[in-house]
């Protein structure tokens, strides 16, 4: 009797595992592709670094390059003047993006190749008689860079005297252009399909229409109200899809994706600012009345109430900006940290564990990508709804 039971149990177990073995193997294989990408160049570059060290061992003290996880993560999440694709035999292969500078002598446009991957402020680039250096992806005038203290160099992005204004097409701008073009053609195709097909939506339209109606019926309508929502639909749809698609692009770990656009605070700042402008411009009499003359509050409290209300106006978009930035950047940092474990422990045997965790995190980040787009859109709709709400005073 026991034997039979045990056999049955074993069979069941085998059944469970053999249910979808092909799919499981495929998923595991696809999920592990990025780690080959991460692992191979690093090993190559290490050996390349080691060779010259071995050759020069007689002359200088051995200069062993420590793996620095912080540096790797920072390199991946920050903006850049070139799009790093891969390393080949120790040499980085990059897509050089145009550098556009508004200098003291006017506009200068040149390729980021001129910096020769230098980010330490050592390689001086001479463009039409002006000398530039690059330190941590910030371009300075070479002479003024020399005069800066170390701390000033670290925060060089805000040393506006020491550097030209930088309007370069950076990695994030490039990625944004690409996503905007792809999305534009995507939705153009969908819009066209409605002209030909008057019946139930098919294909791409069938996939995207539920999302459009979701934004309309679950975000715009309940928060803005039946009367006004139609006016704000284009804006809400645009930010929803723009944030979502760019979040997803950031999760794909190879060229031409992988940019951390939505995890960049400048990007989220602009989006939050636009929501703030839309909210402020659509504010009706009630909205401003609540700010400058809050009903039910004695007038002598106005000196406290008005600043508090104005701060309240600003904190809402500020929270939007920080929320999106922090969520997406945190996701990138966690995934990169898990990958870095392999190099920190210097063993390949950790890779199944970190791989499993990265797979889990990547799937979670896909959820977060949609969730953050939803939250940003929802809160924008909520703020707009507060601004246009018609209060019935009792």
């Amino acid at each position: 009797m026991q034997k039979i039971l045990k056999r049955k149990l074993d069979n069941n177990l085998i059944m469970v595992f053999s249910n979808k073995p092909v799919q499981f193997l495929l998923v595991a294989l696809v999920a592990s592709i990025p780690y080959f990408g991460f692992a191979n160049p690093a090993v190559d570059s290490l050996s390349v670094v080691n060779e010259p060290v071995a050759a020069h061992e007689a002359h200088a003290a051995p200069e062993k390059k420590e793996f620095n996880a912080t540096e790797l993560i920072n390199d991946h999440i920050k903006d850049s003047h070139e799009f790093h694709i891969a390393d080949w035999e120790g040499h980085p292969i990059s897509l050089y993006l145009p550098v556009i500078l508004w200098t003291n002598n006017g506009l200068e446009v040149f390729s980021a190749e001129a910096f020769h991957h230098d980010n330490t402020g050592e390689h001086v680039v001479d463009i039409n008689g002006q000398k530039f250096v690059r330190f941590n992806e910030v371009i300075f005038y070479a002479d003024k860079y020399e005069a800066l203290a170390k701390e000033q160099r670290e925060l060089g992005a805000f040393e506006f005297d020491a550097r030209p204004l930088d309007f370069s097409i950076t990695k994030n701008v490039f990625s944004m252009f690409m996503s905007a073009l792809v999305m534009f053609f995507l939705f153009l195709v969908v819009a066209r399909s409605y002209k030909k097909n008057q019946l139930a939506p098919k294909g791409l339209a069938g996939f995207l229409e539920p999302l459009v109606t979701f934004v309309r019926d679950d975000i715009a309508r309940p928060n803005i109200g039946e009367k006004q929502y139609a006016k704000y639909m284009p804006y809400l749809l645009t930010i929803f899809f723009f944030i979502w698609i760019n979040n997803l692009i950031g999760l794909i770990p190879f060229f031409p994706f992988s940019s951390n656009l939505t995890g960049n605070i400048y990007f989220t700042f602009v989006l939050a600012l636009i929501t703030f402008i839309v909210t402020t411009l659509s504010g009706n009499k009630d909205y401003w009345g609540h700010i400058f003359n809050t009903p039910g509050v004695p007038f002598w409290l106005a000196p406290i109430m008005i600043p508090v209300e104005i701060i309240g106006m600003l904190t809402k978009p500020f929270a939007l900006m920080i929320r999106l930035f922090a969520n997406i950047t945190a996701g990138h940092i966690i995934i990169l940290s898990l990958v870095s474990l392999i190099f920190i422990f210097e063993t390949v045997w950790i890779s199944p564990i970190s791989g499993a965790f990265v797979l889990f995190m990547s799937v979670l980040e896909m959820l977060v990508a949609a969730l953050q787009a939803y939250v940003f859109t929802l809160l924008s709709a909520l703020f707009i709804g507060q601004a246009v709400a018609e209060h019935d005073h009792h």
Partner: protein, 163 residues
Amino acid sequence: MQLTSPESLIFWTTIIFVVFFILLRKFAWKPILGAVQSREESINNALASAESARLEMLNLTASNERILQEARVERDALLKEAREMREKMIADSKAEAQAQGERMIEQAKTAIAAEKNAAMAELKSQVSTLSLDIAEKLLKNELSNKEAQTKLVENMLGDVKLN
């Protein structure tokens, strides 16, 4: 986190987002939302008209049923009337036929009686004429033959003697 030059991304994000928004609004959102809206309306209209058609159908069925019922009642009444009329007609014609028959029999009887009387009268007159003729002939014949007459008288006289 290392911050890079803010103006680059802020500038480009603003430009790209605004242009992207305007283009999408014109070429994508307007047609898509319009199509979705009009399709929803047409679906709602179709559902409403289906519902009204269903109600109409129900009404129609009910009135059909009513008309049918009325027709059935009318048919029954008609049938009943027809049956009554038929019975009445049969009864009438039976009575008439009987009366006529009786009348005809009566006439026939009268005619027969009259004929009989006439025939009897004629027979009587014929018989008398015939009897007279016979008697005349007999007398003529008997009287022309004297011997025979005498013989006869003798015969008769002989018979009388016996008595």
